[in-house]
Symmetry: C2
Subunit: 531 residues, 2 copies
């Protein structure tokens, strides 16, 4: 059976655009003689719809689209999700549409929440529905979170179609693939996992929908991070000439990619779609000469084009010469517009007013932070003036320990690398330089510094990033507590200090720009902590 | 039967302090010869514990406290919640402790999420447990979200104790009381609702635990917003001499309060506990001469004491004379320290650097916003220098329509009145002035203005606040969509514009300071929208 998977980007509250994509997918699937076209969950409404689901008009619009789909369903089976309302209760329903009729339906029997979508806020547990029959084949359709409850006992189901809605997370996506493969093997059932693609502020959906045979091997896979009507023949699984077991992605498979390459592609798509969604074109950022902004700039250029990105260099009295020269070299390598804005005079004008209140109190943290805030204010003014979006360049390590100034370097509309540890930022820099030197080598090799006071180094206040990142990963992603961290060999003083810094900087993370999520423990999404 | 309710503030991850309070509550309950002492949910761990529940060490600490409570349980029945872990699964368990033994327990059978605590992230559904017997009386204990599933058929249960964990919301708390009264009446069962008290950043718990007789009348109630061991005799419900039906709070009852008085008290406690929790003492804010900061200042003074609050007046070239004189009068009325910091020279120093890039582009929104950002930066520098917390003074109406500058007037550690519509801010101003003029009358009567350009008025860009607030309340709290709003009589153009402003300012609300929640639809907590 020829199956078409509409691996597209469907935007929340964007019914007419989404319907256009649905319509063209159906037309193209018919042209390619597919028996069936399958859509990712929330294709009609866009994902995540969040509290739009609480408004009657939104629900009605969703249902109206189904009527429009019925009219273009001659000669093809369409699998798509809808909503069903009864007595103020809302059910999430997958329907099988063909020849102008709803042939079958099935309600979500186990609505479950994720960190990025609280499904149980909106939907109740359903228990109506039946197996779908497509071209004489019994097909089971379900949402990903229902798989745990699936049983094949006594059924003739040959094939299972799973609608998934998980954003890309580098540290767990292979485990997720694995669990689908195990499901297919255990139940001896062909399984097709349908993913959306595209960026929605923090969330980036990876596409890469895939098919698994009844032995648990992945037989086909759509491309990563690309919109496509992906058509394959489920009865001829070896048509592509490759079969693979899960995790085995680095050699023979055409669309296999290394982890850092996937992260790179996720970030680029995340930036691209953020701007497309907001109908904006141009970005700016402060280029400090450090590694973080040096990595964000090429990502922005790849996503938006060099003519749509401009940068400000804002040296203070504490900036080293190499900061400016390195930054200019990077901007020149990428041929983006740059301006130098010295902040010294602005700082002095604040100092004059501060003196009336502060008297002769010595220079301290307040004055360090003020420099970052002057930069933030200037960048925002520049961004406002020309309609640019300010990209934030903070990383996850410094965000974790509160090494950043609120309303200063924490400003920005989108935090591009805020879900990458510092050591991953370096990996990404090397990946960006894989073909030629884009980021000047000196930026990659010099010791990191915030340059807010004379001769400052990050290592003055923080453990070295290799250690810090390992502790943070074990604590944040793997949920090891202080005792377990010390037991596994980390220095007790360093662990105690790191976790204290993490705890005490929670208030800063409550107000930072949305991060592009690439891990399973993104601040502001996955991790919820009392202040 | 004499029952003691330990209506205290229990802080997350604060085991030793919480245990001290538990210990002293047990001792005092014994002294007062109570048969039983009941604690609010999460008394041991503090509420909300959030992702602390994902760490093994936290769970262990919780269980260890139970062992300590066992040792001080001679001669009194203690009802308190704990956790039970089995095969990686976590159950939320209420235990009855007496004479050194766990006499009975009951697991949460229907864990449910709220906007402020995702219980199902941590706990699974339990089904073990039994009715508690205290002084020969069968008592049913449960969490508030389990009440829907409660059935008395065939049981001898006389009394139901409900552990609640809902923060104060002015628009729904009477409805909640009502539903408990209906429950009691329908099941002909005495019901005791146990609430915690205290502020946890955004959440303010109101206390006001209460007892309902089997006819559905509230017979006793603990005070609002006050820590207390509240002891009453459930067999002599009329001891206080009053009985009331729900909603009937304005006359005969000693602790009855008007809605605005409750909101006032919630905000004061919210501020007070925010500082206490963070072990901080002093606050600052920018006093503009407008109504918002004029209302926040007396609240801060009441919470922290006048000696712990100081303010900056930061006039620009567009500030009217009355802004400064009104603000000074207010500061003098409250006898708080104030400084005037003109921002004109700082603005000019930015302008000099801007000119190199902006050329002769005319003054516009970017420059308006810059003034707000200079104020934000200066306030933060002042706050950092002296260890003050900057209080944010934005209100819900302007937050809803995006009438505020990110990193400018949206700065701050805690947004005191961000959950109050502008019209409510005026109500609160009048309440604050109920005994004498604290807020100068001119601040209350003059037309609101941001004063970022010559002769600016809020009404230049926004519908009048009376209309705006009504539309917003109907849309946000009552979930009416555009069509319904127009149908109910609002002008279609105004509705369309208001909802567009609301949609387009979502990105600003992602980065604002945590608001003290007083409504059922607080931005950043209850309302989740795609960007």
């Amino acid at each position: 059976m020829k199956i078409a998977v509409a691996q597209y980007h469907f935007r929340p509250n964007n019914f007419s655009e989404n319907f256009k994509k649905i319509k063209s997918a159906i037309a193209e699937a018919k042209e390619q003689k597919a028996s069936c076209v399958v859509f990712p969950a929330f294709a009609i409404s866009g994902f995540p719809p969040h509290d739009l689901l609480l408004y009657a008009g939104f629900i009605k619009k969703w249902q109206q689209q189904i009527d429009k789909i019925l009219k273009i369903s001659n000669g093809i089976s369409i699998v798509i999700d809808s909503v069903f309302q009864e007595d103020e209760k809302l059910f999430h329903r997958i329907v099988l549409i063909k020849d102008g009729k709803i042939q079958a339906f099935r309600d979500d029997e186990h609505p479950a929440d994720t960190a990025f979508f609280k499904k149980t806020n909106y939907f109740v547990k359903g228990n109506s529905g039946s197996v779908f029959v497509i071209e004489n084949t019994e097909v089971r359709v379900c949402f990903e979170h229902e798989l745990n409850y699936f049983s094949t006992s006594g059924s003739d189901v040959e094939c299972c179609i799973v609608l998934q809605n998980k954003p890309f997370e580098y540290d767990v996506f292979e485990k997720q693939e694995q669990s689908f493969c195990e499901f297919a093997k255990k139940n001896r059932i062909k399984t097709i996992v349908v993913n959306p693609v595209g960026g929605e502020t923090s969330l980036v959906f990876s596409g890469a929908s895939f098919a698994i045979d009844a032995q648990g091997q992945i037989t086909e896979q759509a491309p990563f991070f690309k919109e496509e009507l992906w058509v394959f023949d489920s009865s001829n699984p070896n048509a592509t000439g490759w079969l693979r077991t899960c995790g085995d992605r680095h050699d023979e498979i055409s669309n296999s990619k290394s982890e850092i390459a996937l992260v790179h592609d996720a970030l680029v798509l995340g930036i691209k779609d953020y701007f497309k969604n907001a109908n904006l074109k141009t970005a700016t950022l402060g280029l400090s000469g450090g590694i973080d902004s040096a990595v964000v700039l090429p990502l922005a250029v790849e996503a938006l084009g060099r003519q749509n990105v401009s940068v400000l260099l804002m040296p203070s009295q504490f900036s080293s010469d190499h900061s400016v020269t390195d930054a200019i070299r990077l901007a020149e390598n990428l041929r983006v517009q740059w301006h130098v804005v010295p902040i010294k005079d602005i700082y002095h004008s604040y100092q004059k007013e501060m003196h009336a209140i502060f008297g002769d109190l010595p220079f301290g943290l307040a004055e360090e932070n003020l420099q970052a805030r002057i930069r933030g204010s200037f960048l925002m003014t520049y961004a406002n003036k020309f309609g640019h979006v300010l990209l934030n360049t903070s990383n996850k390590s410094e965000s974790a320990v509160g090494y950043g100034t609120m309303y200063g370097d924490l400003c920005g509309g989108l935090a591009v690398i805020a879900d990458l540890y510092k050591t991953q930022v370096y990996d990404l820099a090397r990946y960006i330089n894989r073909k030629k030197e884009i980021i000047p080598e000196n930026i990659i090799t010099k010791a990191p510094s915030a340059e807010l006071r004379p001769d400052q180094k990050d290592s003055d206040s923080l453990p070295d990033y290799d250690t810090l990142d390992k502790i943070l990963y074990a604590h944040l992603e793997l949920k090891q507590d202080e005792k377990q961290l010390v037991k596994s060999g980390f220095d007790a003083t360093v662990v105690e200090r790191t976790l204290r810094l993490l705890r005490n900087s929670e208030f800063k993370r409550k107000q930072t720009a949305p991060a592009i999520k690439v891990s399973s423990c993104t601040f502001g999404i996955d991790r919820v902590m009392p202040l």
